[in-house]
Every structure is written in C-alpha cells, then in structure tokens.
C-alpha cells in the first residue's frame, strides 16, 4: 500500500508541475485512528501530504460537483463509477479531469474493528494482509479480509472503470460474492416484520444528513427535506418523517448508486442505510440488467425508455 502513496504523490506532483491540473483532490492522514481527511493540493511541493491506505472510504467524487477547475482526482473503483455518473449528469466535464485511478483492495470497517477491540483504540497500522490495533492494554491483530467494510467485501468493481493515470497494477475482481444476501433475507419477512425491522434500524437517526452529504449523488441545490412552500417532509424526530427521509433518498439514488459505502461510513450513529439503496440496486439489475457508472457511453436505465422495459406489474 505504501507504493500507492508514493505513486499518488509522484503523479500529483507531475500533474501540478506541468500545469495539467490546478489542484489534486486526495486524502491526507487524519488525526484519528482509521480516519483520513479529504484534502486538496495546489502546489507541487505540498504533495507529500497525500496518502493512501485502507481508510480511504469517503467517496472523493463528492468533491467534484459543479467545480470549474482542472482537477486531478484520486479515484478507486466505486469513486470512478461515480465520476462517470457525474459526467453523464453534467456535474463535471470529462475534459476537466485527470483521473488518478486506484485499483482498490478494500477499505476497513472502523466500527467493526472498534466493536471487536477491548479498550480505546489509540493507533492502527496495516500490512498487506493484517490490521494491527494498538490500545492502552496491548495489541490486537485482525486479518484484513475479516474486517473489510461490508460493501468492499462484496465488491465486483474494485478497479477504476475510467482513468488517465494508474497508481498500481489492476487487481483481480472478486467473483463468488453475493452482494444482495442481506437484502434477500429481508425480502422473506412479512410486512409487519419488515416494518418493524426498519423502525428499529432507523431509530437512532438524528437527521444530521451526513449520509446524504457524503453521497456524490446528492447534489440537489435544494434537497427535498429542505423544501418549504410547500414543505414536503417534516424536519422533526417524528419516526414517520425520519423513515420517509431515508427511503425517499434511497429512491433518488435508484439506478445511480455504486454502493461506495460513504453513507454508512459517515453516519455518526452507525445506521446501515445501505439496506435500502442495495434493494434498489438489486431491482435495477434484475429489471434492466443495469449497474451504475460503468460506461460513459450508455444512458442510465432510469434515464431512458426501452420498448422491452418490464411491464408485468401493470395489470
């Protein structure tokens, strides 16, 4: 992974020195274990801040929306798919970007590691296969494969789908993974059980909108929750309003979500709201054979009408 960091810095420096880009968007080391901070570098001598490791789960495509500069952007698989979606949705132009592609080996799940660690985590180091956690009491080691973010463990698009530079050799895509196992399990419950499941899932929500704001897809100038005259949705902690926010946001991401997991990563109270977006991804795939952001040349499935679109639900 340290070669990733070196290569990102080298590429960034070259791009800045040659004025190919005005800024490079990447990550710098955070002040907390397992956290990195998205940052921008605009001078060649500042590139040493840039890092890459298994804590780069935030989706950097989120920082491209409506920018006007020439930008070098560090992008792992899911990020690159969101860049494709951004280009198709006119949120950024292809010509503005130099995409620094990162073949991703998966991000670790800091909540999972914290839950399985005794005591406060002071420092986390990683090797190719392992995560070493240091607490006041001692050390604990985890196999990286066991503590990946859930979306990374079932990811089949780890390589960037679009790039101008590559920071490492492409990795082999995972096969034999079932991204929708948990969705399928939920589908088997009856209505009452489903209702109660989501009631419990969304109970801790504090309407901070970290999930919405971390999502590259959520770029509406006025989000539906902020509409007034008329107000679409209450802003209070009423459970109906909270539920409606989540499911309506998921609907807005239908056919566009790349399951990058930034929403779950951002949530301060650990809600697994991907259970909603994944259901929609599963349906889009089943109905239209569609996965978001794989190619600049096809319009998204929910963007166009085809005569053979499924109609059997219309009686």
């Amino acid at each position: 992974m340290s070669t990733y960091t070196e290569n990102i810095r080298a590429i960034a420096q070259r791009l800045l020195k040659s004025c190919q880009v005005e800024l490079v968007i990447g990550f710098r080391k955070g002040t907390q274990p397992m956290m990195n901070e998205p940052c921008f570098v605009s001078t060649p001598d500042a590139v040493d801040q840039l890092v890459w490791d298994s804590n780069c789960g935030i989706n950097l495509a989120n920082y491209l929306t409506n920018r006007t500069e020439k930008i070098g952007i560090v992008a792992k698989g899911c990020d690159s798919r969101n860049i494709v979606t951004h280009i198709l949705e006119n949120k950024i132009k292809r010509e503005q970007l130099v995409i620094i592609g990162v073949p991703c080996q998966g991000m670790i799940d800091k909540r999972r590691i914290a839950a399985e660690t005794q005591g406060e985590i002071l420092e986390v180091a990683e090797s190719d296969e392992q995560i070493i956690v240091k607490t006041r009491e001692g050390r604990q080691t985890f196999a990286k494969a066991d503590v990946l973010q859930q979306n990374c463990s079932v990811c089949i698009h780890r390589n960037p789908v679009i790039y101008d530079e590559l920071t490492a050799d492409l990795v082999t895509e995972q096969s034999d993974v079932d991204p929708y196992a948990d969705v399928r399990e939920l589908e088997t419950l009856n209505s009452e059980e489903k209702w109660n499941y989501f009631e419990e899932l969304l109970a801790p929500c504090i309407r901070c909108y970290a999930c919405r704001n971390a999502c590259p897809l959520c770029y509406c100038p006025t989000c539906f929750v902020d509409e007034s005259k008329p107000q679409w949705l209450g802003k209070s902690q009423d459970t109906m309003d909270v539920r409606t926010f989540h499911f309506l946001r998921a609907f807005h991401c239908a056919g566009r979500c790349t399951d990058c997991g930034a929403c779950e990563r951002a949530c301060p109270v650990g809600i697994n709201m991907r259970l909603l977006t994944k259901k929609l991804n599963k349906d889009c795939f089943a109905l239209y054979g569609w996965e978001a952001g794989l190619s600049l040349d096809t319009r998204p499935a929910l963007d166009i009408y085809q005569t053979n679109d499924p109609e059997d639900f219309i009686k």
């Binding site: 901070e37 998205p38 901070c208 971390a214 902020d226 990563r265």
Partner: protein, 353 residues
C-alpha cells in the same frame, strides 16, 4: 462543599429510593454505544462507559420539542386558544453525567437565561433537574477538557459529584439540590477526606494527553482570523452535515416550525445546524453564508473567538472530543484552534514589535 463516602453495596438501594422521588436518567448502552435515556429499569443504567455518543444536552433540550399547540375544532373545550404545549416538569435526576457535559450545561444556560430573554422550556427542565456527575478516571485520548476550561473532576454545572474511591464511592455535595438528592437516596454516608478526592482529581488530570492552546485567541484581531488563508484548507473536506453540531454539548441552535394536521396545529422546534446550507437563508433568497468555507469558518470563529470576546469566559467548547471522533471527514477542532491561536500569537508579537 463536603466530601462523603458511600458504600458501593448500598448504591442500588439508594437508586431505588430515588426512583420514588425523581424521574431518573442516565447512560444506557444501545448496541455499541451509550446515550442518555430515561431509566425505566435501574438495570439499564451503565456507568462503566467513557462517554455517550450524543451529549446530554437532549435532556434539557430535546431534539424535537413541542412549543405551542392550538385546536380550531369548535367542539373542543380550548378551541382557538394557542397555548404552551403541556409538559411534565416533575423532579428529575441525571445520574452519571460527565463533568465536561455538565460544564456545557452552564455554557448553554448563558444563552437560554439572559436578562432580556428566558427560555421557559429549557429553564423549566433545568430547574427540575438535579445533576449527579461521575468523575472521569480514564479519560479518552481525544479528551482535552483540561485546556478547554474544565476537567475530569470539574464541578461547574453539577449538584453532586461522584468519584470511584475503590471499595466505596466518594461524593462531593456541590449544591442544595445535591444535598436534597443525597437525603432522598438515604445512603448511609460517612465523612470522607477531602484529600483523597484531590488526589484522584490530580491523577485523572495527569492522564489527559490531548491539549489545546487558547491564550492568544482573545487578543487576536478578529479580522485577521477571519481573513486568514487557512480556511480554504480547513474547510475543504467538510461535507456540511450536522454531525459536529448535533453531538456537541455546547451547540444550541434551533429552528422553529409549524405543523398543521386537520384542525389542530403545533409550533415545534428542532435542532438546527450552522453547517446546513440553508441555515442563514433569508426570505429574499439571499444567503450571507452561501459557501461552505463561510459556514465552516463561522463555526470555528463562533466557538473559539466570538464567544470568547462576548462573554470573557473562555471558549465555547468543553473538550469532550465528540466532534473529533464523529466527524465523517476528520476535521479536528484542536488543529483549527492551533491554527487560530498561532495566528493570534504571531500577529501579537509583530504588533508588540
């Protein structure tokens, strides 16, 4: 302010007695973290926690709260009369609040209890509440309370402060409310040595590893800080969610909304956040803080400069570390404070020549 000892074996009996006189609230574990909840059963109280995920401010300042209600149904007895929403202000006690959160209550009180305005909802709850603090003997690596105006044994905002004395609890009575609670709990108490409390306090304070420097904030030129060149870099990662403001015990902004359903209506308030883009939108559509940089800058300027200047009581932060741990993009107030303080001291030096 005397110190007494309480035998640990008596603890739960005392709590049971307290339940008859007070509605009890305390830290309750919910899956992987703790939050303050009403204690329906005493078994739910979990004092073996470092701190709650969300602060204790929701005990006095619920995230969504009815303010006024009305009913237009002519058949209703109180038709066409707008009145304060009915509330229950029976005595309540918060068991196990940390000193940082308690000091934050005092800071928030400065806003809700002024000569000009008194917020009846917050003040009624505050008056009805007795705060029983639990001193911190194992602070986190992100706690910086000792340099943020309080500390692991700080007493401001508390009525009673408990500390772990090994086989017994040490309790310091700080106010009459605290004494009343002690009497109500009926614990068999003995006078305790003031010194052991002080020893524990010293030991805890030495465990704080995270520190901030704030000495140059008050003297800094406001416009120098405002126009500093580091704000673009500080603000870049920010996603303008409400996480920092919602977990923060000293943030108190709220938005008032009306909701109508049929013939009834209510006016309620919800927590609001200066991080949200529409926080400062005017009815004309103009937004004086329309960009992310302006909003991020404002948050830190408020906490570390405007509040300092206005009240002369230090920063509007108690060093609980929640924003540092929960920010999705790891923006760290301690780093921003350093940038601001350094600018303040650098410029001060040049002025003094």
């Amino acid at each position: 302010m005397k110190v007494i000892t309480i035998e640990k074996a008596q603890w739960s009996q005392g709590l049971t007695r307290l339940q008859t006189a007070y509605r009890l609230f305390g830290p309750v574990k919910d899956k992987t973290f703790h939050n303050f909840k009403e204690l329906d059963s005493l078994a739910a109280l979990d004092l073996s926690y470092s701190n709650t995920r969300l602060s204790a401010k929701s005990l006095l300042f619920p995230q969504s709260e009815d303010l006024l209600v009305y009913n237009l149904d002519p058949a209703a007895e109180d038709a066409n009369i707008m009145k304060e929403a009915p509330k229950a202000y029976a005595p309540r006690a918060v068991i196990g609040i940390r000193p940082c959160d308690a000091k934050a209550v005092s800071l928030v009180k400065m806003n809700f209890d002024t000569d000009e305005y008194k917020d009846p909802y917050w003040l009624n709850l505050h008056q009805a509440t007795t705060f029983v603090g639990l001193a911190c003997d194992a602070p986190c690596s992100t706690c910086f309370c000792t340099t943020a105006g309080c500390g692991p044994y700080h007493e401001e905002g508390l009525d009673l402060l408990l500390a772990d004395g090994g086989d017994h609890l040490l309790a310091k009575v700080i106010s009459e409310k605290g004494q009343a609670l002690l009497d109500s709990a009926g614990w068999r108490v003995a006078d305790g040595p003031e010194t052991s409390f002080d020893d524990l306090k010293r030991a805890a304070e030495e465990k704080i590893v995270s520190k901030i420097a704030t000495e140059s904030l008050a003297g800094a030129e406001t416009m120098d800080l405002y126009q500093a060149d580091f704000w673009e870099d500080v603000a870049f990662a920010c996603i303008n969610c409400g996480t920092c403001t919602f977990v923060c015990p000293t943030c108190w902004c709220f938005d008032i909304q009306d909701e109508i359903f049929g013939k009834k209506g209510k006016r309620l308030r919800n927590w609001d956040s200066c991080m949200f883009p529409i926080f400062t939108v005017h009815t004309t559509g103009h937004n004086p803080r329309g960009t992310k940089v302006m909003r991020v800058r404002q948050r830190f300027m408020h906490k570390l400069k405007y509040f300092v200047d206005k009240y002369n009581q230090g920063i509007m932060c108690v060093g609980c570390g929640r924003c540092v741990r929960q920010c999705p993009v790891n923006i760290d107030i301690r780093r921003v404070c350093e940038l601001m303080n350094n600018l303040g001291s650098a410029n001060a030096c040049s002025v003094q020549g």
